[in-house]
Amino acid sequence: VPLRADAAPVEEPGWQPVGLEEAAARVESQAQRAASEHAEEVDAERAPEPSGVTVELDWNVALDKLFEIVFAGLAAKDPVWEVSAGERKGLSGAWAAVAQKYVKAPGPLAQAALATALVVVPRTLLRKRGKTVDVAPVAAAGDPRSE
């Protein structure tokens, strides 16, 4: 069945479907460039800036879900950490939203919390389609909460 049987298409003036063979001929050079030049892979979220600790992540598990699990654990231990607005700007949206929900810590502590979260991710989540992500060091100087 058509997906939209109730919605008759409004033709674009002057346009005719050309078929996939003809379209392939027109697009092939872009596709070849895509294969050779734009090799950046899609990812669920942006990774933190590279630094010290290496963690294997299962990209089949949505990262925000992953963080939700881990931050829920952190929050149960210490519910007073908070991510500042400035810190959120440095994180991708989904990560920041989850971090903000569960972790209250200014500045570097938020990074430390993220790093801690990655380090303590259960091994069961770290299988299949493993990719390596470098995250910030866990240590946040002088603050016992980073332990």
Binding site: V1, P2, L3, R4, A7, P9, V10, E11, E12, W15, Q16, P17, V18, G19, L20, E21, E22, A23, A24, A25, R26, V27, E28, Q30, A31, Q32, R33, A34, A35, E37, H38, A39, E40, E41, V42, D43, A44, N60, V61, A62, D64, K65, E68, A94, A97, R129
Partner: protein, 188 residues
């Protein structure tokens, strides 16, 4: 637009939907997780041909026309491949284009220009777009809000549920909150 958390059943639903699509139109599938066809597929779609990238797909298409209603699955995770596949759909017209894991490639701030252009003319060029994502906030509003039909599976996160409430009303949100896995709500 098909929305739902991991393991909610949305992928299975989408595959069966594609199996039921008319054979009058070819179907392009963006499958970055290699789950729609091939050895790693779980309940994959019928009659699929897999390609590791759009260059490989184009080479195959140029060698000979696809069968009517062909299911052509591109299993790549390269952003450039997604842009090229959007351009192929835009140029060819008269097909169905399925984008799995759409939240990875159709975010408002990281969406390729080719996808935006395809969205703008999809109806005029008879392109049926099927977007599959884990949450409504993961895809740009141009794609999310121009839907003709929405299938909702269980979704985590207050932001997603708030979007459902704003879009479809409190009763739908409440039904969604209470819904088990593998159940869905269809809204037109």
């Amino acid at each position: 637009v098909i929305l739902g958390a991991s393991e909610s059943g949305k992928s299975w639903f989408a595959k069966r939907l594609v199996d039921r699509l008319s054979a009058a139109k070819p179907v392009l599938v963006w499958d970055p997780q290699a789950e729609w066809a091939g050895p790693d597929a779980d309940a994959g779609i019928r009659g699929a041909r897999c390609f590791a990238g759009v260059a490989e797909l184009c080479a195959s298409l140029r060698a000979g026309p696809p069968a009517p209603g062909a299911r052509l699955v591109v299993q790549s995770a390269r952003r450039g491949d997604f842009a090229a596949l959007c351009r192929l759909a835009y140029t060819a017209g008269n097909l169905a284009f399925v984008v799995d894991e759409a939240h990875q490639v159709l975010k408002a701030d990281r969406c390729p220009r080719e996808a935006e252009e395809l969205m703008q003319v999809s109806r005029h060029r008879r392109v049926d777009l099927v977007l599959i994502a884990q949450r409504p906030t993961g895809i740009g509003p141009d794609f999310r809000d121009n839907k003709a039909e929405c299938i909702l599976f269980r979704m985590p996160g207050e932001a997603s549920l708030q979007w459902v409430r704003a879009e479809f009303g409190k009763s739908v949100e409440e039904r969604l909150r209470a819904m088990p896995a593998r159940a869905w709500i269809r809204l037109t």
